[in-house]
């Protein structure tokens, strides 16, 4: 079962209409036997390397006092690299970040979410290797004293977002509320921040992104989830192309050093 968990990437989109389609496609566990041969070879060959890498990533994740539960990647570049984003997603899973959102302001990732999903599965195989369930259990025992944490990290949720998930979704929530006011189900006075927040939150378990890594030369959120980035820390990297694990870890360390006073 643990194998299935590792291989299962739930690629969700923020919006309902994509949801059904993607969930149907993605909740299917990826059968191990269907992996192309070259991947298997790479895995066998790389087995040892993957093992040490993986334990390093897990211990890196544990070494940080504070790890975001939800990380966003905003790509503000013209050319998109699916492989690099897939790497980032896999590294996030490995260090124990359970929610990853990927965004570009043209909505290209969202249009091609199938490509991205395939790429993630591929990179997961080549970076993490190991489709042996014993393997996971061993790691669990040796490298972490917080098994719960590890289990969570096994089921990461990847969301692919576009500008439509931003202001547009706020407008839709507003329209919905106004419709119920029209039907006299609610009164305008009843509308509160928390009410809107619940409407804009797909599920109770998804927190707002605590950290957004922005790639590219443009210093702007370019429409990324305006409602949800109230307390989000923004850290920039020059490009997502050829981004390394060390780059990501440096960002996580930077995030670790951020202190929030929450108005106090």
């Amino acid at each position: 079962m643990a194998t299935v968990s590792w291989l299962r990437v739930r690629l969700q989109t923020w919006r309902g209409r994509f949801w059904q389609r993607t969930v149907a496609a993605l909740l299917l566990p990826v059968p191990v036997t269907e992996f192309p041969d070259y991947l298997k070879k790479a895995r066998d060959y790389d087995g040892k390397g993957a093992e040490s890498r993986r334990s390093r990533w897990i211990s890196d994740g544990n070494s940080l006092k504070k790890l975001p539960v939800h990380i966003g990647f905003v790509v503000a570049e013209e050319e998109l690299s699916y492989t690099d984003i897939a790497n980032l997603v896999v590294w996030c899973m490995a260090v124990g970040i359970s929610h990853v959102s990927v965004y570009d302001h043209h909505g290209i990732f969202q249009k091609n979410h199938v490509c991205l999903q395939e790429e993630i599965v591929k990179q997961q195989q080549s970076l993490l290797g190991g489709d042996d369930s014993r393997y996971n259990m061993d790691l669990l025992k040796n490298n972490t004293d917080k098994p719960q944490h590890f289990v969570v990290s096994c089921r990461p949720i990847v969301k692919v977002l576009s500008p439509e998930d931003g202001k547009h979704s706020i407008v839709q929530a507003a329209r919905k509320l106004c419709h119920s006011v029209e039907k006299k189900e609610w009164s305008a006075k009843d509308i509160s921040v928390s009410m809107l927040d619940i409407l804009l939150r797909e599920s109770k378990n998804t927190p707002d992104p605590e950290l957004v890594v922005k790639f590219g030369p443009v210093n702007s959120t370019l429409g990324f989830l305006p409602w949800h980035i109230r307390l989000t820390e923004f850290i920039s990297l020059p490009s997502h192309k050829n981004v390394s694990y060390e780059d990501l870890f440096t960002v996580l360390q930077q995030y670790n050093a951020c202190q929030q006073r929450l108005g106090q």
Partner: protein, 420 residues
Amino acid sequence: MLVCPLTLELLLTDSPAEQKGQPLTPQTSKTSSVPLKKCEPIDDERTVTPQRLKWELHCRKSSMNSSAEVVVIKVFPSSVVSNPKMSWIREGELNLLERISANILMAGPMPKHVAFIMDGNRRFAHKKNMERHDGHMQGFNKLAETLLWCKHLNIPEVTVYAFSIENFKRSKEEVDGLMELARQKFEKLLEEQENLEKHGVCVRVLGDLNMLPLDLQQVIAKAVIMTKNHNKCFLNVCFAYTSRYEITNAVREMASGVEQGLIKASDVSEALLSECLYSNNSPNPDLLIRTSGEVRLSDFLLWQTSHSCLVFQSVLWPEYSFWNLCEAVVQYQLNHKSIQKARELHLEEQALQQLEADCACVAEHLQHQGNGKPADAQRRQEALRHYTTAREARVQDFLQSLKRKRDSFFTDLCSETVLT
């Protein structure tokens, strides 16, 4: 190391312009026989604390000759807050180097609207061993200075985050201090009527004023009404503000428009929501600057800055300089083209969404009328045109009634003061 002077004299004075006079020392200290040293006054008697004095002495030590036996620090009683240093409007010119740099900068695209998160006042106070209140005071002085720089850089609109709804969670002492500071500053603003008129400064306050003490609400209302027709530069002060609250408030306004039958739920759109925000009179900020090294928006203008250039600078707000501002403007200029492109793309999408929404409404309408029979293209076109015009008229009516409601909130507050 701090060299303590032999005598420390506190000079309580009535006027900041006063250089000499009978020292009205509050507690101990004998009358000085040594000529008064020229020194910077402390703003307010209430701000005098042991730490503050230590700091003042430390600062002055270098500028005084070491043989000074008496150090005179002028302290103003709290009733006198007419220190010209604390005015909203500063007069003054840039120095030569600043002027040259400003001219070079202004050859490029300039932001029309800059938003500031003035962070770091308390850290500054801590660093300098001051009271928190003094840090806030220094922060205010820096704002006045920054407004002057913006004027010289031809930036007509500035929005600042003065007080968040979350800030009410701070200690009662600090919240009261900040409310008092705001009261003083807005009262001061009222005294500066002539100056504000001369520069054409319009001051707006964005936020839920109902959360503030009534007397502060009234002073704010007076200041807003006094400057509302000025149109050369605009200062928006976000007070008792968070962006989520602002967005929620806009939704609430639209819902009450629906309740009153002014608009339909289907009229709710991105453009309409923007018009219902507190910031509806301003264009979106081109540049958002946050000082003190924090890299988050802290619930400030989330909606309005979705296509703005964000610049995070590590300097503490009271230490902000003209050069820091220039650096941020350069950042804006480097980003200008791509952000402009993204904005245009977003506007196109917005227009498309509006069209889609209108079409959907018309289709539903036609289906009702035609008992499910499909309408021909020409009839659909006409119905769409008709529907769009009607929707726009509804929305305009609604927005006007919202504006009247908001205006009367301020005028009512003002007339209440007259009555009391």
